[in-house]
Subunit: 224 residues, 2 copies
Protein backbone atom coordinates (compact mmCIF):
# COMPACT_ATOMS: atom_id res chain seq x y z
CA UNK A 1 0.00 0.00 0.00
CA UNK A 2 3.01 2.28 0.17
CA UNK A 3 1.71 3.98 3.29
CA UNK A 4 3.89 2.78 6.13
CA UNK A 5 6.16 5.78 6.24
CA UNK A 6 3.36 8.16 5.32
CA UNK A 7 1.13 7.24 8.24
CA UNK A 8 4.07 7.45 10.60
CA UNK A 9 5.01 10.85 9.29
CA UNK A 10 1.48 12.18 9.52
CA UNK A 11 1.11 11.02 13.11
CA UNK A 12 4.48 12.36 14.13
CA UNK A 13 3.60 15.74 12.68
CA UNK A 14 0.21 15.79 14.37
CA UNK A 15 1.68 14.82 17.73
CA UNK A 16 4.43 17.41 17.56
CA UNK A 17 2.00 20.10 16.37
CA UNK A 18 -0.38 19.38 19.21
CA UNK A 19 2.35 19.93 21.78
CA UNK A 20 3.83 22.98 20.11
CA UNK A 21 0.54 24.72 19.33
CA UNK A 22 -0.38 24.17 22.96
CA UNK A 23 2.87 25.67 24.21
CA UNK A 24 3.33 28.53 21.73
CA UNK A 25 0.03 29.10 19.97
CA UNK A 26 -0.60 28.96 16.25
CA UNK A 27 1.32 32.03 15.16
CA UNK A 28 4.10 31.30 17.61
CA UNK A 29 4.79 27.87 16.16
CA UNK A 30 6.77 27.73 12.91
CA UNK A 31 6.82 24.94 10.38
CA UNK A 32 10.51 24.46 11.02
CA UNK A 33 9.85 24.01 14.73
CA UNK A 34 7.16 21.45 14.04
CA UNK A 35 9.08 19.43 11.49
CA UNK A 36 12.21 19.61 13.60
CA UNK A 37 10.42 18.25 16.67
CA UNK A 38 8.72 15.57 14.59
CA UNK A 39 11.98 14.54 12.94
CA UNK A 40 10.61 14.92 9.44
CA UNK A 41 11.50 17.06 6.47
CA UNK A 42 10.30 20.65 6.29
CA UNK A 43 8.26 19.97 3.19
CA UNK A 44 6.38 17.09 4.80
CA UNK A 45 3.65 19.26 6.30
CA UNK A 46 2.70 20.84 2.99
CA UNK A 47 2.90 17.47 1.29
CA UNK A 48 0.64 15.68 3.77
CA UNK A 49 -1.66 18.46 4.91
CA UNK A 50 -1.44 21.14 2.25
CA UNK A 51 -0.89 24.14 4.53
CA UNK A 52 -0.30 25.17 8.12
CA UNK A 53 -3.97 26.04 8.58
CA UNK A 54 -5.08 22.66 7.30
CA UNK A 55 -2.63 21.05 9.69
CA UNK A 56 -4.15 22.94 12.61
CA UNK A 57 -7.63 21.82 11.57
CA UNK A 58 -6.46 18.22 11.36
CA UNK A 59 -4.93 18.44 14.84
CA UNK A 60 -8.35 19.37 16.17
CA UNK A 61 -10.38 17.10 13.98
CA UNK A 62 -8.44 14.04 15.11
CA UNK A 63 -9.46 14.64 18.74
CA UNK A 64 -12.79 16.41 18.44
CA UNK A 65 -14.36 13.81 16.20
CA UNK A 66 -13.79 11.27 18.92
CA UNK A 67 -14.70 13.56 21.80
CA UNK A 68 -17.93 14.90 20.37
CA UNK A 69 -18.89 11.48 19.09
CA UNK A 70 -18.45 10.14 22.60
CA UNK A 71 -20.47 13.01 24.03
CA UNK A 72 -23.33 12.26 21.68
CA UNK A 73 -23.11 8.54 22.41
CA UNK A 74 -23.28 9.17 26.16
CA UNK A 75 -26.22 11.53 25.76
CA UNK A 76 -28.07 9.07 23.53
CA UNK A 77 -27.55 6.34 26.09
CA UNK A 78 -28.78 8.48 28.98
CA UNK A 79 -31.84 9.61 27.07
CA UNK A 80 -32.61 6.05 26.04
CA UNK A 81 -32.50 4.91 29.66
CA UNK A 82 -34.61 7.79 30.92
CA UNK A 83 -37.43 6.90 28.55
CA UNK A 84 -38.42 10.43 27.57
CA UNK A 85 -38.19 11.92 31.04
CA UNK A 86 -35.86 14.89 31.56
CA UNK A 87 -32.32 14.05 32.62
CA UNK A 88 -30.82 15.37 35.82
CA UNK A 89 -28.57 18.42 35.31
CA UNK A 90 -25.71 16.54 36.92
CA UNK A 91 -26.00 13.84 34.27
CA UNK A 92 -25.90 16.35 31.46
CA UNK A 93 -22.97 18.26 32.90
CA UNK A 94 -21.07 15.03 33.42
CA UNK A 95 -21.85 13.91 29.89
CA UNK A 96 -20.37 17.05 28.46
CA UNK A 97 -17.59 18.11 30.80
CA UNK A 98 -16.90 14.79 32.49
CA UNK A 99 -16.38 13.16 29.11
CA UNK A 100 -13.88 15.90 28.27
CA UNK A 101 -11.87 15.46 31.44
CA UNK A 102 -11.92 11.68 31.25
CA UNK A 103 -10.56 11.93 27.73
CA UNK A 104 -7.68 13.94 29.16
CA UNK A 105 -6.74 10.99 31.32
CA UNK A 106 -6.44 8.78 28.28
CA UNK A 107 -3.09 9.32 26.61
CA UNK A 108 -4.38 7.54 23.52
CA UNK A 109 -6.70 10.48 22.86
CA UNK A 110 -4.17 13.22 23.35
CA UNK A 111 -4.24 13.34 27.11
CA UNK A 112 -3.85 16.60 28.89
CA UNK A 113 -1.92 18.16 26.02
CA UNK A 114 -4.88 18.37 23.70
CA UNK A 115 -7.08 19.51 26.53
CA UNK A 116 -4.82 22.47 27.18
CA UNK A 117 -4.62 23.26 23.50
CA UNK A 118 -8.40 23.26 23.29
CA UNK A 119 -8.72 25.48 26.34
CA UNK A 120 -6.35 28.06 25.02
CA UNK A 121 -7.69 28.00 21.48
CA UNK A 122 -11.24 28.76 22.54
CA UNK A 123 -10.12 32.24 23.56
CA UNK A 124 -7.86 32.91 20.53
CA UNK A 125 -10.42 33.11 17.86
CA UNK A 126 -8.62 33.40 14.55
CA UNK A 127 -11.27 33.51 11.89
CA UNK A 128 -10.37 30.22 10.30
CA UNK A 129 -10.25 28.30 13.56
CA UNK A 130 -13.43 29.83 14.94
CA UNK A 131 -15.30 28.86 11.81
CA UNK A 132 -13.90 25.37 12.04
CA UNK A 133 -14.74 24.92 15.72
CA UNK A 134 -18.25 26.29 15.29
CA UNK A 135 -18.96 23.63 12.69
CA UNK A 136 -17.24 20.89 14.67
CA UNK A 137 -19.27 21.70 17.79
CA UNK A 138 -22.63 22.62 16.33
CA UNK A 139 -24.41 19.29 16.68
CA UNK A 140 -23.22 18.40 20.16
CA UNK A 141 -23.97 21.92 21.41
CA UNK A 142 -27.52 21.83 20.11
CA UNK A 143 -28.16 18.45 21.67
CA UNK A 144 -26.79 19.35 25.09
CA UNK A 145 -28.53 22.72 25.15
CA UNK A 146 -31.80 20.98 24.34
CA UNK A 147 -31.21 18.49 27.14
CA UNK A 148 -30.61 21.32 29.61
CA UNK A 149 -33.70 23.21 28.45
CA UNK A 150 -35.72 20.09 29.09
CA UNK A 151 -34.07 19.40 32.43
CA UNK A 152 -34.62 22.97 33.68
CA UNK A 153 -37.99 24.01 32.25
CA UNK A 154 -38.43 26.86 34.72
CA UNK A 155 -35.14 28.55 33.87
CA UNK A 156 -35.20 30.99 30.93
CA UNK A 157 -33.32 29.64 27.95
CA UNK A 158 -31.09 32.69 27.71
CA UNK A 159 -30.01 32.06 31.28
CA UNK A 160 -29.14 28.46 30.54
CA UNK A 161 -27.11 29.46 27.52
CA UNK A 162 -25.14 31.95 29.57
CA UNK A 163 -24.49 29.41 32.28
CA UNK A 164 -23.34 26.90 29.70
CA UNK A 165 -20.94 29.57 28.54
CA UNK A 166 -19.71 30.15 32.08
CA UNK A 167 -19.22 26.42 32.59
CA UNK A 168 -17.17 26.21 29.40
CA UNK A 169 -14.99 29.01 30.67
CA UNK A 170 -14.41 27.57 34.09
CA UNK A 171 -13.51 24.24 32.54
CA UNK A 172 -11.16 25.61 29.92
CA UNK A 173 -9.32 27.62 32.50
CA UNK A 174 -9.10 24.76 34.92
CA UNK A 175 -7.51 22.81 32.13
CA UNK A 176 -5.27 25.39 30.54
CA UNK A 177 -4.09 26.48 33.92
CA UNK A 178 -3.26 23.21 35.61
CA UNK A 179 0.31 24.21 35.22
CA UNK A 180 0.39 27.05 32.73
CA UNK A 181 -0.93 29.92 34.77
CA UNK A 182 0.17 30.49 38.34
CA UNK A 183 -1.75 33.63 39.03
CA UNK A 184 -3.96 32.17 41.69
CA UNK A 185 -1.44 30.17 43.61
CA UNK A 186 2.09 28.88 43.57
CA UNK A 187 0.75 25.35 43.83
CA UNK A 188 2.87 24.15 46.66
CA UNK A 189 -0.47 22.72 47.63
CA UNK A 190 -0.80 19.33 46.05
CA UNK A 191 2.50 18.67 44.39
CA UNK A 192 1.21 15.54 42.74
CA UNK A 193 1.76 14.95 39.05
CA UNK A 194 -0.59 16.24 36.41
CA UNK A 195 -2.56 13.04 35.97
CA UNK A 196 -3.19 12.77 39.68
CA UNK A 197 -4.34 16.37 39.83
CA UNK A 198 -6.69 15.54 37.00
CA UNK A 199 -8.28 12.78 39.10
CA UNK A 200 -9.20 15.27 41.75
CA UNK A 201 -10.06 18.02 39.32
CA UNK A 202 -13.13 16.29 37.97
CA UNK A 203 -15.13 16.10 41.23
CA UNK A 204 -13.98 19.58 42.17
CA UNK A 205 -15.02 21.02 38.86
CA UNK A 206 -18.32 19.16 38.83
CA UNK A 207 -19.29 20.55 42.23
CA UNK A 208 -18.49 24.05 41.09
CA UNK A 209 -20.28 23.77 37.76
CA UNK A 210 -23.43 22.31 39.26
CA UNK A 211 -23.44 24.92 42.00
CA UNK A 212 -23.26 27.61 39.36
CA UNK A 213 -25.81 26.00 37.07
CA UNK A 214 -28.36 25.65 39.86
CA UNK A 215 -27.72 29.01 41.50
CA UNK A 216 -30.68 31.33 42.15
CA UNK A 217 -31.59 33.41 39.13
CA UNK A 218 -30.14 36.91 39.04
CA UNK A 219 -32.26 39.96 39.77
CA UNK A 220 -31.72 42.60 37.12
CA UNK A 221 -31.73 46.15 38.36
CA UNK A 222 -34.57 48.27 37.01
CA UNK A 223 -32.24 50.89 35.59
CA UNK A 224 -30.65 48.56 33.09
Amino acid sequence: MLEVRAVDTRERILDASEKLFMANGFDGTSMRLITGAAGVNLAAVNYHFGSKESLMQEVFRRRLDWLNGERLRVLDEMERKSGGKPLKPSQIVDGFFGTLLRMAQDEAHGGITFLRLLGRTLTEPSDFIRTFLAKEYSEVMERYKAALFKALPDVPKAEIVWRFHFMLGATSYAIAGTDALRLVTDWQIEDADATDRLDRLLPRLMSFLLGGLRAPLPQFSATA
Copy 2:
Protein backbone atom coordinates in the same frame (compact mmCIF):
# COMPACT_ATOMS: atom_id res chain seq x y z
CA MET B 1 8.29 70.70 27.60
CA LEU B 2 8.57 69.23 24.13
CA GLU B 3 6.16 66.45 25.01
CA VAL B 4 2.96 67.33 23.26
CA ARG B 5 3.54 65.16 20.23
CA ALA B 6 5.25 62.47 22.27
CA VAL B 7 2.34 61.93 24.66
CA ASP B 8 -0.11 61.85 21.82
CA THR B 9 1.97 59.33 19.95
CA ARG B 10 2.37 57.07 22.97
CA GLU B 11 -1.36 57.07 23.66
CA ARG B 12 -2.26 56.50 20.04
CA ILE B 13 0.08 53.52 19.93
CA LEU B 14 -1.26 52.08 23.17
CA ASP B 15 -4.87 52.45 22.05
CA ALA B 16 -4.22 50.87 18.67
CA SER B 17 -2.19 48.05 20.24
CA GLU B 18 -4.93 47.27 22.72
CA LYS B 19 -7.47 46.81 19.95
CA LEU B 20 -5.18 44.87 17.66
CA PHE B 21 -3.70 42.57 20.30
CA MET B 22 -7.26 41.83 21.36
CA ALA B 23 -8.33 41.00 17.82
CA ASN B 24 -5.22 39.17 16.56
CA GLY B 25 -3.12 38.22 19.54
CA PHE B 26 0.46 39.20 20.18
CA ASP B 27 2.17 37.20 17.46
CA GLY B 28 -0.61 37.96 15.02
CA THR B 29 -0.18 41.71 15.31
CA SER B 30 2.75 43.27 13.47
CA MET B 31 4.44 46.54 14.22
CA ARG B 32 3.42 47.81 10.81
CA LEU B 33 -0.22 47.04 11.57
CA ILE B 34 -0.01 48.87 14.89
CA THR B 35 1.77 51.95 13.62
CA GLY B 36 -0.45 52.06 10.55
CA ALA B 37 -3.62 52.00 12.67
CA ALA B 38 -2.18 54.55 15.07
CA GLY B 39 -1.12 56.83 12.23
CA VAL B 40 2.45 57.08 13.41
CA ASN B 41 5.80 56.17 11.96
CA LEU B 42 6.99 52.57 12.09
CA ALA B 43 9.97 53.48 14.24
CA ALA B 44 7.82 55.20 16.87
CA VAL B 45 7.14 52.03 18.85
CA ASN B 46 10.79 51.21 19.31
CA TYR B 47 11.56 54.83 20.08
CA HIS B 48 8.90 55.19 22.77
CA PHE B 49 8.71 51.68 24.18
CA GLY B 50 11.94 49.98 23.22
CA SER B 51 10.48 46.78 21.83
CA LYS B 52 7.25 45.01 20.96
CA GLU B 53 7.33 43.07 24.23
CA SER B 54 7.74 46.22 26.27
CA LEU B 55 4.84 47.73 24.40
CA MET B 56 2.65 44.77 25.32
CA GLN B 57 3.62 45.15 28.96
CA GLU B 58 2.78 48.84 28.87
CA VAL B 59 -0.61 48.10 27.34
CA PHE B 60 -1.36 45.92 30.36
CA ARG B 61 0.30 48.07 32.96
CA ARG B 62 -1.76 51.10 31.98
CA ARG B 63 -5.00 49.27 32.79
CA LEU B 64 -3.98 46.80 35.47
CA ASP B 65 -2.40 49.37 37.72
CA TRP B 66 -5.73 51.13 37.91
CA LEU B 67 -7.82 47.95 38.13
CA ASN B 68 -5.83 46.23 40.85
CA GLY B 69 -5.44 49.48 42.75
CA GLU B 70 -9.20 49.83 42.69
CA ARG B 71 -9.64 46.25 43.82
CA LEU B 72 -7.36 46.83 46.78
CA ARG B 73 -9.08 50.09 47.61
CA VAL B 74 -12.49 48.42 47.60
CA LEU B 75 -11.23 45.56 49.76
CA ASP B 76 -9.61 47.94 52.22
CA GLU B 77 -12.84 49.86 52.50
CA MET B 78 -14.93 46.74 53.08
CA GLU B 79 -12.56 45.42 55.71
CA ARG B 80 -12.47 48.77 57.43
CA LYS B 81 -16.26 48.83 57.66
CA SER B 82 -16.52 45.25 58.86
CA GLY B 83 -14.25 45.95 61.81
CA GLY B 84 -12.29 42.71 61.79
CA LYS B 85 -15.23 40.43 61.13
CA PRO B 86 -15.10 38.17 58.04
CA LEU B 87 -16.63 39.60 54.90
CA LYS B 88 -19.47 37.90 53.07
CA PRO B 89 -18.34 35.84 50.05
CA SER B 90 -20.62 37.92 47.84
CA GLN B 91 -18.80 41.08 48.90
CA ILE B 92 -15.42 39.59 48.07
CA VAL B 93 -16.53 38.23 44.73
CA ASP B 94 -18.06 41.55 43.83
CA GLY B 95 -14.92 43.37 44.88
CA PHE B 96 -12.80 41.29 42.56
CA PHE B 97 -15.00 40.42 39.60
CA GLY B 98 -17.56 43.19 39.90
CA THR B 99 -14.81 45.78 39.86
CA LEU B 100 -13.46 44.18 36.69
CA LEU B 101 -16.79 44.25 34.88
CA ARG B 102 -17.63 47.75 36.02
CA MET B 103 -14.29 48.89 34.65
CA ALA B 104 -15.35 47.47 31.30
CA GLN B 105 -18.30 49.81 31.24
CA ASP B 106 -16.01 52.80 31.60
CA GLU B 107 -14.54 53.68 28.24
CA ALA B 108 -11.92 55.84 29.95
CA HIS B 109 -10.33 52.69 31.34
CA GLY B 110 -10.24 50.71 28.14
CA GLY B 111 -13.80 49.53 28.18
CA ILE B 112 -14.68 46.13 26.86
CA THR B 113 -11.68 46.04 24.57
CA PHE B 114 -9.15 45.69 27.33
CA LEU B 115 -11.38 43.24 29.13
CA ARG B 116 -11.39 40.96 26.10
CA LEU B 117 -7.67 41.32 25.68
CA LEU B 118 -7.16 40.33 29.30
CA GLY B 119 -9.48 37.36 28.97
CA ARG B 120 -7.72 36.01 25.96
CA THR B 121 -4.22 36.67 27.26
CA LEU B 122 -4.75 34.72 30.46
CA THR B 123 -4.92 31.55 28.39
CA GLU B 124 -2.04 32.39 26.02
CA PRO B 125 0.80 32.26 28.42
CA SER B 126 3.93 33.39 26.60
CA ASP B 127 6.74 33.29 29.08
CA PHE B 128 7.32 37.01 29.18
CA ILE B 129 3.67 37.91 29.62
CA ARG B 130 3.03 35.23 32.23
CA THR B 131 5.92 36.50 34.30
CA PHE B 132 4.66 40.02 33.96
CA LEU B 133 1.07 39.18 34.91
CA ALA B 134 2.14 37.09 37.87
CA LYS B 135 3.97 40.08 39.32
CA GLU B 136 1.20 42.51 38.45
CA TYR B 137 -1.40 40.33 40.18
CA SER B 138 0.52 38.97 43.14
CA GLU B 139 -0.57 41.44 45.79
CA VAL B 140 -4.24 41.61 44.91
CA MET B 141 -4.44 37.82 44.63
CA GLU B 142 -2.93 37.30 48.07
CA ARG B 143 -5.26 39.81 49.64
CA TYR B 144 -8.42 38.38 48.07
CA LYS B 145 -7.44 34.81 48.78
CA ALA B 146 -6.85 35.73 52.42
CA ALA B 147 -10.26 37.40 52.57
CA LEU B 148 -11.92 34.26 51.18
CA PHE B 149 -10.05 32.00 53.60
CA LYS B 150 -11.35 34.14 56.43
CA ALA B 151 -14.87 34.26 55.05
CA LEU B 152 -15.06 30.50 54.56
CA PRO B 153 -13.14 29.02 57.48
CA ASP B 154 -14.71 25.58 57.10
CA VAL B 155 -13.70 25.15 53.46
CA PRO B 156 -10.21 23.73 52.84
CA LYS B 157 -7.88 26.34 51.41
CA ALA B 158 -6.99 24.21 48.42
CA GLU B 159 -10.67 24.07 47.56
CA ILE B 160 -11.03 27.83 47.75
CA VAL B 161 -8.00 28.32 45.53
CA TRP B 162 -9.45 25.99 42.94
CA ARG B 163 -12.79 27.74 43.01
CA PHE B 164 -11.10 31.08 42.63
CA HIS B 165 -9.45 29.62 39.56
CA PHE B 166 -12.79 28.40 38.22
CA MET B 167 -14.32 31.82 38.82
CA LEU B 168 -11.51 33.49 36.91
CA GLY B 169 -12.10 31.13 34.02
CA ALA B 170 -15.84 31.63 33.88
CA THR B 171 -15.34 35.38 33.95
CA SER B 172 -12.63 35.51 31.31
CA TYR B 173 -14.69 33.44 28.97
CA ALA B 174 -17.81 35.42 29.55
CA ILE B 175 -15.80 38.47 28.59
CA ALA B 176 -13.72 37.14 25.74
CA GLY B 177 -16.77 35.50 24.25
CA THR B 178 -19.35 38.24 24.37
CA ASP B 179 -18.97 38.40 20.67
CA ALA B 180 -15.88 36.44 19.80
CA LEU B 181 -17.03 32.88 20.32
CA ARG B 182 -20.33 31.68 19.03
CA LEU B 183 -19.99 28.08 19.99
CA VAL B 184 -22.74 28.05 22.53
CA THR B 185 -25.33 30.02 20.70
CA ASP B 186 -25.94 32.17 17.67
CA TRP B 187 -26.98 35.03 19.97
CA GLN B 188 -30.20 35.94 18.27
CA ILE B 189 -31.21 36.09 21.89
CA GLU B 190 -30.58 39.58 23.16
CA ASP B 191 -29.46 41.55 20.19
CA ALA B 192 -28.63 44.55 22.34
CA ASP B 193 -25.29 46.30 21.96
CA ALA B 194 -22.20 45.24 23.84
CA THR B 195 -22.51 47.74 26.67
CA ASP B 196 -26.08 46.75 27.33
CA ARG B 197 -25.15 43.08 27.37
CA LEU B 198 -22.48 43.98 29.90
CA ASP B 199 -25.11 45.49 32.20
CA ARG B 200 -26.92 42.23 32.34
CA LEU B 201 -23.78 40.14 32.39
CA LEU B 202 -22.71 41.27 35.83
CA PRO B 203 -25.73 40.00 37.81
CA ARG B 204 -25.77 36.85 35.71
CA LEU B 205 -22.14 36.16 36.30
CA MET B 206 -22.35 36.99 39.99
CA SER B 207 -25.14 34.49 40.52
CA PHE B 208 -23.18 31.82 38.77
CA LEU B 209 -19.91 32.52 40.57
CA LEU B 210 -21.51 32.58 44.00
CA GLY B 211 -23.41 29.41 43.27
CA GLY B 212 -20.17 27.71 42.36
CA LEU B 213 -18.20 29.16 45.24
CA ARG B 214 -20.76 28.01 47.80
CA ALA B 215 -21.49 24.63 46.23
CA PRO B 216 -21.26 21.50 48.41
CA LEU B 217 -17.73 20.20 48.69
CA PRO B 218 -16.80 17.40 46.31
CA GLN B 219 -16.53 13.82 47.45
CA PHE B 220 -13.31 12.27 46.24
CA SER B 221 -13.54 8.66 45.24
CA ALA B 222 -11.46 6.33 47.40
CA THR B 223 -9.54 4.93 44.45
CA ALA B 224 -7.93 8.26 43.61
